[in-house]
């Protein structure tokens, strides 16, 4: 089965910034997080997926259709929630719902009511008059009920308070369950990554560093506190600080330590944030 989103050598120059070439494939039934420093090109890549800008090279296909082709039917299968909604300010929540809902065949009115009730969203107030957090909640309330195959979210929880973040994550997990769907989200929030993502696509300075399976990534890095630090390099060693060692190949490291008769005082899996920081160094 071909990937639902195929990005091949996608490139875009914006003033001095150069995105790509980026290669990425998104499969059905997965949540992929785009992770990177500010200005690494995450939002630009998402906008290229939505054909909001012209690529300088490469190609992007969604459900087998090139996004920059004449056939725009792929848009019916995708929901895009940008970091900042443009053009929504003059409309109330109710007006936005009436505008958006008929465009999607699977629109779920009950889910919309459930989310607006859960977040206590005032639907008669103009979008521009809502607080950033409430705007984000309304955006989500208008995104999930579209029930499209693909959901693209750019910083979906950036303005949400802690309880709302949790509610959103539960909603997204429920949303993924009933049928094959794919989510792509750009985020800086460690909780989003820990609780939602299956895959992490790391980006730096416009380049894709790699696509990692989250669980494999978290089990591949370990920190050890040793009774003594060997003088020579340890297999899998990534960095050392005093008697503290970080390994990206725990099996090889542990074998070596045992062979050297060095005792491990303590060891710990690395936090996802620490691993990402190491990879983005």
């Amino acid at each position: 089965m071909p990937a639902w989103i195929e990005i091949k050598d996608a490139r875009k120059n914006v003033d001095d910034f150069q995105l790509g070439p980026v290669n990425l494939e998104i499969e059905a039934g997965t949540i992929t997080a785009l992770v990177g420093t500010n200005g690494s090109g995450k939002s630009t890549l998402l906008k290229l997926m939505m054909n909001l800008a012209n690529m300088d090279g490469g190609m992007i296909r969604i459900l087998g259709k090139p996004v920059d082709g004449g056939d725009e039917s792929w848009k019916r299968h995708i929901t895009f929630q940008p970091q900042k909604q443009i053009g929504w300010n003059a409309y109330t929540g109710n007006e936005l719902k009436n505008l958006i809902a008929p465009l999607y065949v699977k629109w779920d009115d009950k889910l919309f009511e459930h989310i607006t009730g859960l977040f206590d969203i005032p639907l008669n107030k103009r979008f521009g008059k809502l607080s950033p957090g409430m705007q984000q909640k309304l955006s989500l309330a208008l995104a999930l009920p579209r029930k499209t195959d693909i959901l693209i979210l750019d910083e979906p929880t950036a303005s949400l308070d802690i309880p709302s973040k949790k509610l959103f994550m539960d909603l997204l997990v429920d949303w993924m369950e009933p049928e094959d769907r794919a989510v792509v989200l750009a985020t800086h929030q460690p909780d989003d990554l820990r609780k939602l993502a299956d895959y992490l696509f790391l980006m730096q300075d416009g380049q894709g560093i790699g696509l990692y399976e989250k669980d494999v990534l978290t089990s591949s890095y370990r920190r050890y506190w040793l009774t003594e630090m060997p003088a020579d390099s340890v297999p899998g060693e990534l960095s050392r600080d005093g008697r503290q060692l970080i390994s990206q190949n725990p099996d090889a490291t542990e074998q070596f330590i045992v062979a050297q008769n060095i005792q491990v005082l303590d060891d710990q899996a690395l936090e996802l944030e620490d691993i990402i920081s190491l990879l983005l160094k």
Partner: protein
């Protein structure tokens, strides 16, 4: 036809959302326009040449200014200039052709009723105009101005597609536009010996049927051309 139906639906949302300000500004512009039209007799007697410029501004630019700020073309992030609705609609499953048409419906609703009131007001406020025009030539005159409204005025609708422009390029094109208008304005005075409005009255009276046919052709061509141009600009622009 289905595309026009979808476009009208989208346009209705925008018009409804800006109805309050639309009506307020509409009333204000009509009041201002009628004040300007009071000088029409003076103009026809050759004593107020500035009327032409005022009339052209009122006729072509007021409809675009009538929209509330949220729906007008503006500077977005970076060097992107566009109407926010264009960005919003492109993120939804709406074909580009429908987006273009929706902008044209909005512009038509903001311009045609207003322009019709202006054109109906001319014979009402001016005795000279009434004496110069017959009912048939008046219809030709109205058609000429509606053709101009489409062929020239709808550039405002098409330009909402926006583009990636540096401030310098915008200032430059603004200067060229002013120079172009001044040149056309001067040429018409030089050739016809009268102002632009007076010249269109002459066309309607002396070449009535030719004017009607040219006006219809110009309307159709302008309507199609600006839609194609807008579609091209949307495709070309980076909405980043």
């Amino acid at each position: 036809m289905n595309e026009w139906k979808q476009a009208s639906r989208l346009a209705a949302f925008e018009l409804k959302a800006s109805m309050k300000s639309l009506i307020t500004i509409f009333v204000f512009y009509i009041a201002m326009s009628l004040l300007v039209l009071m000088t029409f007799d003076l103009y026809l007697e050759g004593e107020f040449r500035f009327f032409d410029l005022l009339f052209l501004v009122i006729f072509f630019l007021f409809p675009a200014w009538m929209k509330s700020k949220e729906f007008q073309m503006q500077k977005m992030d970076g060097d992107l200039w566009t109407a926010p609705s264009i960005v919003m609609l492109q993120q939804l499953p709406i074909p580009k052709g429908v987006i273009v048409k929706s902008r044209f419906v909005v512009h038509a609703v903001c311009s045609f009723p207003f322009q019709l009131i202006l054109l109906i007001s001319l014979p009402v406020v001016s005795e000279n105009f009434r004496s110069l025009m017959t009912p048939v030539t008046y219809i030709a005159f109205v058609l000429i101005w509606f053709a101009l409204s489409i062929a020239v005025g709808f550039i405002m609708a098409a330009s909402e597609a926006g583009g990636n422009f540096k401030t310098r390029a915008i200032v430059k094109s603004f200067i060229y536009m002013i120079a172009g208008i001044a040149a056309v304005y001067g040429l018409i005075y030089w050739f016809a010996g009268n102002g632009f409005v007076r010249w269109t009255m002459t066309l309607a009276t002396d070449w009535t049927w030719v004017s009607v046919i040219v006006a219809i052709v110009l309307s159709i061509a302008g309507w199609k051309y600006w839609q194609a141009d807008m579609r091209k600009m949307i495709k070309k622009t980076d909405y980043l």
